[in-house]
Amino acid sequence: MSKIMPAVDVVLVGGGWTGSVIGKELAATGQRVVVLERGQPRWTSPDFQAPGVRDELKYTRRNELHQNAATETYTFRNRVDETALPMRRWQFAYPANHLGGAGVHWSGAYYRWDPVEFRLRSHYTQRYGARIFEDGITAQDWPLSYDELEPFYDRFDRLVGASGFAGNLKGVIQPGGNPFEPWRSRPYPNPPMRVPHAPALFGEAAAKLGYHPYIQPSALSTRPYVNSEGLHMNECVYCGFCSNFGCEQFAKASPQVCILPVALKLPTFELRTNAHVLRVELDKDRKSARGVTYVDAAGVETFQPAQIVTLCAFAINNTRLLLLSGIGRPYDPATGDGVVGRNYTHQTSSGVSLFFDESVKINPFMAAGAVAVTMDDFCSDNFDHGPLGFVGGGYIQIQVVSGAPIGNRPTPPGTPGWGSAWKKAVKRYYNHSIPITITGSALPVRGGYLSLDPTYRDAWGQPLLRITYDFPDNDIKLSAFLTEKGTEIGHAMRGVTLAQGNPRTKPYGATGYQSSHINGGAAMGSDPATSVVNRYGQCWDVPNVFVTGAALFPQNSCYNPTGTIGALAYWTADAIKRDYLKAPGKLIAS
């Protein structure tokens, strides 16, 4: 028998970006809101202050801000005829934990997605013919367009203090910006980041080859900024502790910095940390949710009744909650029927290792998570795919993320992995090496999906989420193409003595980092036969349950997800306020 809490209007599972945005928006209209965060409360001061926060061993190697793989992890296999095994430590991606979620340990790379991404299937079919999609690719159009989402991107820009130089203002290309950028209604609220030496060299070479390099947009404030909630952000100081760390400066946008202090002042908003949600509870007819059951900090199973349940957990963990709660029909790869768990994707990343002569000093410690010179010439459909025979694209860039001493040990190919020769190479190359980073899109495949593991369970006795996936040939071709282009740029850079491209190869694995952008399983769509939620994130089968975040992506673009996730959070909050609350329990008409 669970302990029962007083009923509220809205319960949100997860205290990251989407839970904080939607929770605050609804609480501000008078809805009684509870956000349940499974992790601990962590605040910029005192928790993320130096010198304590600059601890690579604690934060990166021992995953301080990541999901605890000892209590809850994923199992993984490439194909349905294999038995999946649990990931014992995070290598392929970094699922988030604790207040703020991935919005705390992220890098701050901040993109809008290209309009083509939202109509991927129809756009490519129209321009190249249906056969450009290889058999078994389950890519599909989104149920909304870039133009519809633009005002919400704009809104999130001003929450996070986005930095960048507009490349396309209301359709007019702006000199000095990214000419491939989707149109924006207003400029970025803050100017672009300063450019370290290595990205400057990359930009010089890319421009020489006729490409269009620009400074990557970021959610690291580049000057003192008061955001749309009236909260202060400071100027990024390029300390090099963004990715996997909390920001000591109040410069990297996070729910703690950008929205929670305002939400917590609302009498209708409550944040409950150390509250681990087990499942959504449904009525007998299974068409309406009654609330959620969670385990509180004292280990007591607790029921939180609510009129609306919003799933705001990390990416694919929302898909797991749907499966654990019996919401929506689980996907069956044998028949192609069912929807929950379908369209899992990751990202097709690769790199080019660059080694320089000793006159070129990289200073990799003068860094920030999102400081890069990048180019979109090979993103989306910005180039002719006809002769290439694949779908999708990727950005090519040099970013200076970190010179942290455990992880940053570049050595040229052929260097022994230990001993005096290795030490000598580390010393020679620490300050004279940096990779070109290539981040490519990912297409979903019929045999790639998320499901509940039949063997392994978490610390609460619930089945783990099982990932079954391997790359489609499409994405391998894409990676080969992009990596070759990146290698050409590397060779054109001043001071480079060796440029070694490392394209992504099969099989997809659990041990190599690709990005933390794992997506899907609760695809947004216009047809209940191929999607879990409608265009507002509302479950087709249980209309008072909303899903947010990267679980909604029918496939992944090459761009980082947070900009789109934030825009979608405002989009969903708006729909709930405008339409759903007037007709609770009903599907919002599209």
């Binding site: 605040w43 910029t44 001061s45 005192p46 202050q49 130096a50 010198p51 129209q126 321009r127 290309i173 000199p175 000095g176 000419p179 491939f180 300063r194 450019v195 030496h197 990205p199 400057a200 930009g203 010089e204 421009a207 269009h212 390099p213 620009y214 400074i215 580049t222 000057r223 003192p224 909260l231 202060h232 952000m233 400071n234 100027e235 100081v237 300390c239 000591e248 400066q249 109040f250 910095v257 202090p261 010179v373």
Partner: protein, 225 residues
């Protein structure tokens, strides 16, 4: 439809062609950095510091014989300041970017190489070990702001950037151990917009969120370091 896409593509390519010049991403070193590389004459710096040069009074007059001012004086310690910070400030005084009735004319009387020499000289001076602080009357609020910042005010700890109290946190990030009157005057100047040589205004924004009591607490805290 294909025609429409082709036309759109042509339009884009035309627009791209118009953007012939691509942005130059390379950083241009500021004049003070060039000067520091060009001139490292510690002895010349020492001569100016102790005897002055033309309209530039001897630094030692106010800032003390070895760059440490007399107790109770409102002038900052110069000993052990990073060369970059030191040189940038004198360039800023000279160029009027940092306004000060005494230091402006002194800056104007010095050539680039002389400023650089002074910077190298003062950086070479030993700084005595920080004074032991009396823990019983440790100023609590100053300690909190310096070491942990203030979450509600979105203030990071001073030490995040400024590092060691004496040694500092990096090239243009001086240690903050300074006389109380100097620290209070600088924080007030940043807060009131009288001092603006902090790049994009990082210190002005921080100082604006400090109360008078916070300024005093920090000044007292760093005076004891």
């Amino acid at each position: 439809m294909k025609h429409a896409i082709a036309a759109a593509a042509l339009g884009l390519f035309a627009a791209l062609a118009a953007l012939a010049q691509s942005p130059d991403f390379a950083r241009k070193p500021p004049a003070w950095q060039v000067a520091l590389e060009a001139s490292k004459e510690v002895a010349a710096g020492e001569a100016i510091a102790t005897k002055g040069k033309g309209a530039a009074l001897a630094c030692a007059g106010c800032h003390g014989a070895k760059g440490v001012p007399a107790a109770g004086a409102p002038f900052p310690r110069l000993a052990g300041l990073p060369v970059e910070y030191f040189a940038k400030q004198l360039f800023d005084y000279r160029d009027g970017i940092r306004a000060n009735a005494i230091m402006g004319p002194i800056g104007k009387a010095l050539a680039d190489a002389e400023i650089a020499s002074l910077a190298w000289y003062y950086a070479s001076l030993e700084v005595s070990a920080p004074r032991a602080t009396a823990s019983a009357d440790q100023p609590q609020r100053g300690w909190q702001l310096a070491r942990y910042g203030d979450n509600a005010l979105a203030l990071p700890a001073c030490v995040d950037c400024h590092g060691g109290d004496v040694t500092g946190g990096g090239p243009v990030l001086p240690g903050l151990a300074q006389p109380a009157a100097y620290t209070a005057a600088q924080l007030s100047a940043f807060r009131d917009g009288e001092r603006k040589n902090d790049g994009d205004g990082i210190m002005q924004a921080i100082a604006k969120r400090l109360s008078d009591a916070d300024v005093k607490a920090l000044a007292d805290y760093y005076a004891e370091r």
